[in-house]
Structure formats: structure tokens, C-alpha cells
């Protein structure tokens, strides 16, 4: 793209390339002219798989939209109509619902891979930021999509989550009425959620393009976390990683199919097969599994004030909301919280332990989020919540004082030393 071609190559391909250099663009992006570190392991498959998930969600969602009715008295029935009457409607819906869960599995693995190998560190901070933006957009999209079937969990999930905004001091109530378009979650809410649920995936596509653009600027990080120094450290994306990604797609689709065909409702809540009723709250409200850790943080925050005096600066309600959003926003600061000059946890013995503890804490919070908020669970939730943020404080100090292991001289030397038997 840097220089204009002066001569036209022969043939149709040459004719097109001379006018629109699309073939060289593809070759430079995902082809033979895009060098990648030669040591990428299978954890690097998940970015491409996430892209596949996004495409599958858009496709199944488009066809579902042809049969769904976004109106409060008809929405629930139209979903059952899709399940019973529409040809392959059950497949479209299960693929879309299971697809949402799978998308989050893949993206969470992708994020934790980045955390383990220090992929957020310079010069990839903006790449990391764009990833967080994608996660936030995914969460908004998934939340609004879950409201559309208009079951009990749809309705009460929408009520609880939109009510989070009522914690904003002063204008909270007006904001919530504005979000609802009324005095409760009702038809206007359903309508706008449908419109936004249709729009956001395309916004995600836009941010994904920026994400990939930022990725290509400095190329992929790698399991050693050291920079590419010579061409010997790389292999071309095509055919090496195109084939490897396709293999990953196959494995992923196999697992995906097991859920779609044999356990399509295992990740959902049976209460959502009861039509929405604004007069009765289900006994136990839980979000979909991928929101559980954040839900636990929301519920575990105590009043913040001076102990034993009754002085409260921030009510537990507002604190919960701040804590929940803060648990994601803090990742924007991670590239600077982590002051280590070594990226990969392979060479950071203390950070490696911290990484696994943090992952365990997220799983613990997820479990707490699925349980009723009383007794032991409340205490466990608060410990888990405290540790979540303590991790980042500890990381500030550890990353600046940790004695790291010696780094290999280069990617190629390391690869040849470990596997070069011929």
C-alpha cells in the first residue's frame, strides 16, 4: 500500500489488482506476506475462533430476526413459533443461544491467554484497550439479546440490570425511566433492546477491524514474550497459521455441535421458558453463566463508610455498581499497573502463581454469583471480591520487584534448542 504500482500484471487478477489492490491486501493481512512468530501455541487459536463466533452469531441472528416479533404480547410466542413451526428454527435458535455462551468461553480464554503471556504490554496497549471495548460491547449485546425471548429471566434480568443506573446520585431515576421508555420494563424497552441488539454486532465488527489493525502493526505476541528479531523467528501466516486456525475451527465446532444437538438448554435457565410476568419475581434470579462473577461483585459490596459509626459515604448499592464496572475498567490500566519488563509468565515465577490465583478467584466469584446471597456465600463473596482488587495492587509491587528468569536470546534459538533433533 505504500507505493503505487506502475505496471499492470497480465490477466484478470492483474487487471483488478491494478485498480483495487485487494489481492495484495489479503496477502499482506492473512497471507504469505504476513510474518508471524513461529512459536505460537494453541492458545493463539482463540482470536480467530472468536471471529468465527461473531460471524456465526450474526448469521444465525439475521435468520432468527426474520421470524421473531419484538412486541411484548407476541415475543415469547414468536420464539416458540420459531422452535416448533419454522423450518430448522430450533437449529437457528439453539445455535444462536449456545453460540453466545461459546463466544464468551472463547473470548475469556483469549483474554486469559493475553494475561498469562503479557500480551497487553507495550507496544500493544491500544490493542488491549480495543479488546476490552469489544468485551463491553459483547456484554451489552448478550444482555439485550437475552431479554428478547421475554421469559421471566429476560424480564427480571432486564429489570435488575437497568436498575443499576438508578444508583447514579440525583439523576438515577430519570435515567432509568429513559432507558425503559416507561415506569417499568415493558414493550418500549423490548423494542429498543431489539433494535440495539441488531446494531451492536456490527459495531463489534468495526472494533474488531481496529483490533486486528492494531495487532498487525507490531504482530502477535508469543509464548516467550520476546520480540521478533530476525526473519528466522517467523513463519508466514499462510499456510502455517491458516491451516492451524482451520484445525482449531474443527475442534471448536465439534464441541459447539455437542452442545447444540445434545444439550442445548444446559447453559440456560429453565425459568426463561415461563412468560414474563411483571407482578411476580422468580424466587432466585441469576444471569447467564458468563456474567456470574460480575454479578457476585455487584452483590458482595458492603456499605462503605466509617465502621461502627453508622456513617456511610457510599451505599452498598452504588458501591456494587462501581465495583462491577470497576472490575472491567481496571483492565484499561493493566498495562501500567504491571511494571515488569518481561511479558511472559513463563519467566515470571511469582506472577505465574498470581495469575492462577486470579483465575481461581474469578471462578470462585462465578460460583458465588450462582448461589443465593446469604450466610456463608456472602462472606465467601466478599473475600473473593477483595482478592480480585488486591490482585492488581499486589501486581503493582510484585511486577516492580520480582526476580525474573533469564530470557532466551531469540525465538528461533529457543525453538531449535527445545525441538531441534534433525
Amino acid at each position: 500500500m505504500a507505493h503505487k504500482p506502475t505496471t499492470q500484471a497480465p490477466g484478470i487478477k492483474g487487471w483488478i489488482e491494478y485498480r483495487l489492490p485487494i489481492f495484495s491486501f489479503i496477502d499482506n493481512s492473512v497471507g504469505t506476506k504476513y510474518p508471524c512468530p513461529r512459536n505460537l501455541n494453541y492458545w493463539w487459536n482463540f482470536g480467530a475462533i472468536a471471529g468465527l463466533c461473531l460471524m456465526m452469531q450474526i448469521l444465525s441472528g439475521l435468520f432468527l430476526a426474520m421470524h421473531y416479533t419484538p412486541e411484548a404480547t407476541m415475543a415469547f410466542d414468536s420464539v416458540e413459533h420459531i422452535m416448533r413451526d419454522v423450518n430448522y428454527g430450533w437449529l437457528l435458535r439453539y445455535a444462536h443461544a449456545v453460540g453466545a455462551s461459546m463466544f464468551f468461553v472463547v473470548v475469556y480464554i483469549h483474554i486469559f491467554r493475553g494475561l498469562y503471556y503479557g500480551s497487553y504490554k507495550a507496544p500493544r496497549e491500544l490493542l488491549w484497550w480495543l479488546g476490552i471495548v469489544i468485551l463491553l460491547l459483547m456484554m451489552a449485546t448478550a444482555f439485550m439479546g437475552y431479554v428478547l425471548p421475554w421469559g421471566q429471566m429476560s424480564f427480571w434480568g432486564a429489570t435488575v440490570i437497568t436498575n443499576l443506573f438508578s444508583a447514579i446520585p440525583g439523576v438515577g431515576e430519570s435515567v432509568v425511566h429513559w432507558l425503559w421508555g416507561g415506569f417499568a420494563v415493558d414493550n418500549p424497552t423490548l423494542n429498543r433492546f431489539y433494535a440495539i441488539h441488531f446494531l451492536l454486532p456490527f459495531v463489534i465488527v468495526g472494533v474488531v477491524i481496529l483490533h486486528i489493525w492494531a495487532l498487525h502493526q507490531h504482530g502477535s505476541n508469543n509464548p516467550l514474550g520476546i520480540d521478533v528479531k530476525t526473519p528466522q523467528d517467523t513463519v508466514p501466516f499462510h499456510p502455517y497459521y491458516t491451516i492451524k486456525d482451520c484445525f482449531g475451527f474443527g475442534v471448536f465446532l465439534f464441541i459447539f455441535s455437542i452442545f447444540v444437538f445434545f444439550a442445548p438448554n444446559s447453559l440456560g435457565d429453565p425459568d426463561n421458558y415461563v412468560v414474563a410476568n411483571s407482578m411476580v419475581t422468580p424466587a432466585h434470579i441469576v444471569p447467564e453463566w458468563y456474567f456470574l462473577p460480575f454479578y457476585a461483585i455487584l452483590r458482595s459490596m458492603p456499605d462503605i463508610g466509617i465502621p461502627f459509626t453508622g456513617v456511610v459515604f457510599v451505599s452498598s448499592k452504588l458501591a456494587g455498581v462501581i465495583g462491577m464496572f470497576g472490575s472491567i475498567i481496571i483492565f484499561f490500566f493493566l498495562p501500567w499497573i504491571d511494571g515488569s519488563r518481561v511479558r511472559s509468565a513463563t519467566f515470571r515465577p511469582v506472577y505465574k502463581i498470581m495469575f492462577w490465583l486470579f483465575l481461581a478467584d474469578c471462578i470462585l466469584l462465578g460460583y458465588v454469583g450462582s448461589q443465593p446471597p446469604a450466610g456463608t456465600m456472602l462472606v465467601v463473596g466478599r473475600i473473593g471480591l477483595a482478592y480480585y482488587f488486591v490482585h492488581f495492587v499486589a501486581l503493582w509491587f510484585v511486577s516492580r520487584h520480582e526476580k525474573t528468569l533469564p530470557l532466551p536470546e531469540s525465538i528461533s534459538k529457543s525453538v531449535l534448542a527445545s525441538g531441534g533433533h534433525h
Binding site: V160, F183, P188, S278, T281
Partner: protein, 165 residues
């Protein structure tokens, strides 16, 4: 020059944005559903009913003497959102508690007669979502909710008829 043009453009952008933003606010027909009337005669002492008003439930409880006594003896210092029992009901109609049945935490509907603040006879409310508990005057006593259950605007047309809204 650039500054003036920029400022004017910002004002223009704001003026254009407002109709879009305001279109999402409650529409005229939603605002028009303003009031309902409820006949209180069938509600027995110790009974709570739910009626739908503007899309949300309103609790109407016919309080027992024990309910009222229990609500009145609580010292203000024990309350998170201090309010006397007098302020929660209409003078001369102390047996009737009329409240919006929406938890002030995150909007679930509390269950009547559950929780630890019911004077043992089915008063009091418990929110199943996040564990908030309200007493026999609908005041927050435990859990994450910050405020007492909200009182709607209402008036007694006579001893047995109430107008909400």
C-alpha cells in the same frame, strides 16, 4: 473564528441530538396511565394484595394491631432510612399501608410475610433477589436496598376506597 464555528457546531449537534434522546423517554400514552381506584372492603385484616399501577405492583396491606405496634416501637436509630410510622400512612387510616411493591435495590418484587421483621403474623417483606428485608411499615431493615419502599401518591375517597396516582 475556528473557536466560534466549533462552539456553534457543538450547540447545533446538541440541538439535533435532543429529539433523538427525548424520543426514548416515556411517551404520551404511557404517561396518560396515571391513576386507578381500589375498593378496600374485601381485604381482610392481616391480608396483603397487589394491584398493578403504571406497570408496577402496588402493595395494599390491611395491617393488624400487632403490625402497627411493632412498627411504632422501633427506635429511629435502628433505621437505615429513618421515617416514623406516621409518615408511612395517612392519618385516620393507620391500618392501611399503600406502597409501590418494588425493591429499592434493583427493582424486584419483595414477598409479603417473609423475612425477620414480620411481627410473627405475616407482615414484613423479603426480597428474593438480593435479600433485602422490610418491616411492617415497609421500611428497609436489612440487606443492600438503600431506601424504604416508595409510597405512591394516593388519597382516600372514603373509608373503603382509595385512589392511587
Amino acid at each position: 473564528m475556528v473557536l466560534t464555528a466549533g462552539a456553534l457546531a457543538a450547540v447545533g449537534a446538541g440541538a439535533v441530538a435532543w429529539p433523538f434522546i427525548h424520543s426514548m423517554n416515556p411517551s404520551a400514552d404511557v404517561l396518560a396511565l396515571s391513576s386507578i381506584e381500589v375498593d378496600l372492603t374485601p381485604i381482610k385484616e392481616g391480608q396483603t394484595i397487589k394491584v398493578k399501577w403504571r406497570g408496577v405492583p402496588v402493595f395494599i396491606r390491611h395491617r393488624t394491631a400487632a403490625d402497627i405496634a411493632d412498627a411504632r416501637k422501633v427506635p429511629m436509630s435502628e433505621l437505615k432510612d429513618p421515617e416514623t410510622d406516621d409518615k408511612r400512612v395517612k392519618k385516620g387510616h393507620e391500618q392501611w399501608l399503600v406502597m409501590i411493591g418494588v425493591c429499592t435495590h434493583l427493582g424486584c418484587i419483595p414477598l409479603a410475610g417473609a423475612g425477620d421483621y414480620g411481627a410473627g403474623d405475616g407482615g414484613g417483606w423479603f426480597c428474593p433477589c438480593h435479600g433485602s428485608q422490610y418491616d411492617t411499615a415497609g421500611r428497609i431493615r436489612m440487606g443492600p436496598a438503600p431506601k424504604n419502599l416508595v409510597l405512591p401518591e394516593y388519597s382516600f375517597l372514603n373509608d373503603n376506597r382509595v385512589k392511587i396516582g
